[in-house]
């Protein structure tokens, strides 16, 4: 589904990602990306989704090199993402924004996204006026429209309680299994990642540290030293 080859991204003189190689798990599996602050997790999602142009390396999506493709092109071909900071249309109602995106992506079955994200009661509310937790769900719902094949989520639990984060992860896991979506989630809440992700990748200082099943990652001494510490 997604292969990242020697991907490097720099911000001026700062190397945010250094020659990262990664193969994302297949459909129906939630692939978690964890690591300390500054590890390059969000930069990885930015590069994959087209928000930031890599300085070197290649991104292959469904066998095609998409490194220089636009954000909109990637989205129309099934690569969707949600954001660390809620990135929705504040002045549109939930209904208006879901309808607009559904129209663009020719998705006439948005009802189940509304149901899964539990947005039925908020359809006629302006998005800027609803609670932050609900806005997060609108953000994820916008990414789920159009039946994406690869879903990239940048800290979907940001601003939510641990319980809400875990529940959101469970909903997403349920959804990607049902729909056969491959999903990558960057998250600080390690417990939620280990509980819900089938595969976990650890980044540290812009480099790939380890990839494996949650149990393997928990036991990996390099990961414990660099990131998990006593949390393991």
């Amino acid at each position: 589904m997604l292969e990242i080859e020697k991907l490097s991204v720099s911000y001026g003189t700062v190397q945010a990602l250094q020659e990262v190689d990664l193969k994302i798990a297949g459909a129906g599996v939630l692939h978690g990306v964890i690591g300390p602050n500054g590890a390059g997790k969000s930069t990885l999602l930015d590069a994959v989704s087209g928000r930031r142009r890599p300085t070197a390396g290649a991104i292959r999506y469904r066998g095609e090199n998409i490194t220089r493709r636009s954000v909109a092109w990637r989205r129309r071909r099934g690569m969707a993402r949600s954001f660390q900071r809620t990135n929705i249309f504040q002045d549109l109602t939930v209904r208006e924004q879901l309808a607009l995106v559904a129209w663009r992506l020719r998705d006439d079955r948005v009802e189940d996204v509304i149901e899964v994200m539990d947005l039925g009661d908020y359809l006629d509310e302006k998005a800027g006026r609803i609670a932050y937790g609900v806005q997060r769900r609108v953000d994820v719902a916008l990414a789920l429209i159009g039946r994406p094949q690869l879903l990239l989520m940048d800290e979907p639990g940001a601003g939510l309680s641990a319980e809400e984060t875990l529940r959101l992860f469970e909903h997403v896991r349920e959804l990607i299994r049902e729909r056969g979506i491959a999903a990558v989630v960057v998250e600080h809440d390690v417990d939620a990642v280990f509980a819900c992700c089938g595969v976990v990748t650890v980044l540290d200082l812009g480099r790939h540290l380890a990839t494996g099943a949650p149990a393997e990652i928990r036991a990996d001494k390099r990961v414990i030293t660099a990131y998990l510490g006593s949390a393991a």
Binding site: A72, Q90, L98, V101, G120, E164
Partner: protein, 347 residues
């Protein structure tokens, strides 16, 4: 999340279909609009003096130009202060087309509008991606370039430099004679119709999917791109659209005045239209048209007192402070508030 998956309320199909107004209400509103259009086109010719009609003609022309500016502002968040370059420039092409190229009036209009579309597309392609402030300054720069170009010595044979060009045509244009455009009373019906056509076109675009794409792009361009939208072409199309309105308005102006001069290309025309848009309100189609009329009558009143610029400045500040959404915007908010209150009381 609010609850477990099992507790979620199933969502009906067509959940995204927005509730629409009742058919009866829509028929009533349509009939009222038709009546307003008919009465507005005819009645002033019988009740108003030629002087008042002349002011109203000019005010509505300014209003149509303001409508173009307001549409771009409200839909894309971009402010153009170079609208007069199209408004006046189209008049030059129309005049030159007939006198130098021996075109019929209709062909001269067609050529002028094609030039407007090409100019807007080329300029827009270059500047539409810039920041709102840079966009504003670039439209100003482009407008100033054009207003200076007509004064170039090398083009004097075509433009007559600072003297301007007399514009008149033989025969008929859309079944109307030259005198119909220059007569204040008869021109009122023409400009009134043009205002309705431009207003309804802008209203239709606002309510269309294209309008929704523009507004959503204005709000959050990044999310639009991450939702699969091209955010460049729609804004470029909107820029061309408003320039077509400005061009059509400029043609009416030149047909009405029978004259085109560098003054009609100047920054003053653009800023007057911008002020008219702010006075009336940019969020609706009616706002800028009403703003144009208010501006024209206020200017005349202030001029009669001998303090045009001073009183205009004070009035602009007062209007914008008291009615930040414009006169029509304030009226619209008041009526909506009344309806909401009544509905809450009946609930």
């Amino acid at each position: 999340m609010n609850g477990e998956a099992a507790a979620r309320v199933p969502v009906q199909r067509d959940a995204l279909r927005a509730p629409t107004a009742r058919a009866g209400w829509r028929i009533g509103a349509g009939a009222a609009a038709l009546l307003a259009f008919g009465v507005g086109a005819v009645a002033p010719q019988y009740v108003a003096s030629d002087f008042i009609l002349k002011l109203a003609d000019g005010g509505l022309l300014l209003g149509i130009l303001a409508l173009a500016i307001a549409f771009l502002m409200s839909q894309t968040g971009l402010v153009t202060i170079g609208a007069a370059s199209v408004y006046g420039g189209v008049g030059y092409f129309f005049a030159i087309g007939m006198t130098e190229w021996d075109l019929s009036p209709l062909a001269a209009i067609a050529v002028s509008m094609v030039v407007v579309i090409l100019y807007a597309a080329a300029l827009g392609a270059l500047i539409i991606r810039t920041t709102p402030l840079a966009f504003m300054m670039l439209t100003l720069a482009a407008g100033e370039m054009i207003s200076h170009a007509v004064l170039l010595e090398g083009l004097r044979d075509y433009t007559s430099g600072a003297d301007g060009l007399v514009v008149s045509f033989q025969g008929t244009l859309f079944g109307l004679e030259s005198g119909d455009f220059t007569n204040a009373a008869r021109f009122w019906a023409i400009v009134w119709t043009a205002a309705w056509v431009a207003g309804l076109a802008a209203w239709g675009v606002r309510r269309s999917r294209f309008g929704a794409v523009l507004r959503a792009t204005r709000q959050n361009e990044e999310r639009m791109r991450f939702s699969g939208f091209d955010t460049y072409a729609p804004r470029l199309a909107a820029f061309v659209f408003v320039n077509v309105i400005a061009g059509a308005c400029g043609l009416l102006h030149v047909l009405n005045s029978g004259f085109v001069s560098p003054e009609s290309l100047g920054l003053g025309v653009s800023t007057n239209a911008l002020v008219a848009a702010l006075i009336g309100g940019t969020a609706t189609s009616a706002g800028p048209l009403v703003g144009g009329l208010i501006f024209a009558f206020a200017q005349d009143e202030f001029g009669a007192r001998g303090f045009t610029q001073l009183l205009t400045g004070i009035a602009i500040v007062l209007f914008i402070v008291v009615f930040p959404g414009g006169v029509v915007g304030a009226l619209d908010a008041f009526v909506r508030g009344m309806f909401r209150k009544r509905q809450q009381e009946s609930d």
